[in-house]
Amino acid sequence: MPSLAGLFFWMNIKLENIKKLDVKKPLKLDCGKTISNFPLAYETYGKLNKNKDNAILVFHALTGDQYVTGTNPITNKEGWWITAVGPGKAIDTNKYFVICANVIGGCMGSLGPRNINPKTNQPYGLDFPVITIKDMVRAQESLLDHLGIKKLLCATGGSMGGMQLLQFCATFPDKTFSAIPIACSSSHSAQNIALNELARQAIMADPVWEKGKYVLKNVQPKNGLAVARMVGHISYLSEKGMQEKFGRKLQEKADYEFSFNADFQVESYLRHQGYAFVERFDANSVLYITRAMDYFDLSKQFKGGLIEAFKNQETKFLVISFSSDWLYTTKDNKDIVIALNASGADVSYSEIATDKGHDSFLLDEPEFLKTLKGFIDSMYEKFKNEKRI
């Protein structure tokens, strides 16, 4: 059996640093296949208090992982949501116990296409079952049992994290006191699917990819994966934000080079983002996770549509969108609010005015962070009182 660590050589990943739960309970996936005894990697920040009423579950986005804040021990970079989570931050880890798990299908320690398929003793590659957002969420439920948490104070997530959260609330209506879906959608639009398809096609067009079998050779379809990431990055920024940041500025040169090198700053930026990404992410994981996002349509799971999905919700919601987000628009987010309203759920909604596009939820956006903090702190007071009664 090839050593799993060996497969990570190009990423320089130290797997032994990753906290993992071995999920024993078999999980029947939406595709019909069953997985069991699978690893679920996770990380926690802060301390769970005696009453166990200060736990906040964070769902990560497409290219995120369980390392929400502090230093990611694998990449040695800052956690992806360090702007919002940490001591004294909007989600204050001095006060709250923050949990985040790597999604199944991912590549930061949870079961994914890079793991060994026990049937073949080879990495799964494309033999890995196609997973859904619902599968991801159900896989994470066992983590709450493991940590001894009956009911979360709050669950939150942006982008695909928000989709997982909506699914989580629909599937487990009594597992969280409050929920903050951020910059997300209850189903993927044609444009969302098209952009994901572009990313997948870029990976699959890389000759190194070899129908996902590149893992056997300890290589990575870097070029395709980098292009996939570039597509993503364009969709995370707004037209205005991009224009303001880069305009037509040239990259460390006085004039055009009359070549195809990165003359423009925006080109250089995209290339940098693309090639930094291949150091930490697996190409097959991008295929599987983007597929899960495309299959996501919460209303399809319930006969009465989205309203039915949120029926009998006791959870208190705060939906947040960003005015310049064209990937998951204000309208997408408002549709969630309308459905929650129609089902009689307790829902708040705020649209943050910003030029920074979809990426806003990861940035230092003061209005956004203030809203986040205000909601969580007020929910904590309510939750404590409710428990006391």
Binding site: K316, L318, K334, V337, I338, N341, A342, G344, D346, V347, S348, Y349, S350, E351, I352, A353, E367, K370, T371, G374, F375, D377, S378, M379, E381, K382
Partner: protein, 197 residues
């Protein structure tokens, strides 16, 4: 506490479901929740007001009442409140119809343009009135459709909207307004509060 809010709170039975349209910083919602255990919701356009509501743990939806009331289902609230904003809409009648669709009853309050001080300012000085309840000047006022208590009273009559109660407010004094005392109350009330539907 604003007298107006006190009057509105007195009009509302406990333990009901109430939507406050244009809820501001949530002062009225806080009051209703605290004193009457009312299940409150707010709709508010202004970002910083929305944030204040959220900080207070009050459920609020950021949005424009003129265009976004459609998101609330028919008869989904026992009461819908619209405090001193009816005159600021492009189409007040349409908004009022929407409120009546969403709420089993509706409470609408208006700054009374028939109040004697308002009338005299226009009559004696020939200038658009600026008062405590109408603090803006003609060029920066959000009020597009100023009306009097009598106007709204007649409007409801004409449109067959059932008036359950009308209260006139002048500083700390409140009085019940009926057809019989409409003329006089229209002259001496700063504010009119209508319970309709």
């Amino acid at each position: 506490m604003k007298k107006e809010f006190k009057v509105i709170a007195d009009l509302l039975p406990s333990n009901t479901r109430v939507l406050d349209v244009g809820c501001g910083d949530g002062s009225l919602m806080s009051l209703l929740r605290k004193e009457k255990n009312i299940n409150v919701r707010g709709l508010e356009l202004n970002q910083s007001n929305v944030q204040q509501c959220i900080h207070k743990g009050l459920p609020v939806i950021q949005g424009n009442a003129e265009t976004e009331l459609h998101q609330f289902p028919d008869q989904s609230f026992d009461y819908v409140i619209l405090s001193q904003t009816l005159q600021a809409f492009y189409e007040p009648e349409k908004v009022l119809r929407e409120l009546l669709r969403i709420g089993k009853s509706v409470i609408v309050s208006i700054p009374n343009f028939g109040y004697w001080k308002v009338r005299t300012k226009l009559l004696f000085f020939g200038k658009m009135p600026v008062t405590k309840t109408l603090p803006n000047t003609w060029y920066n006022t959000p009020n597009l459709h100023m009306c009097t208590i009598k106007d709204l009273f007649n409007f409801c009559d004409e449109k067959k909207i059932n008036i359950k109660k009308v209260v006139g407010v002048n500083e700390d004094k409140i009085s019940s307004i009926k057809k019989g005392n409409l003329e006089i109350k229209n002259l001496f009330s700063k504010l009119g509060i209508f319970l309709i539907g």
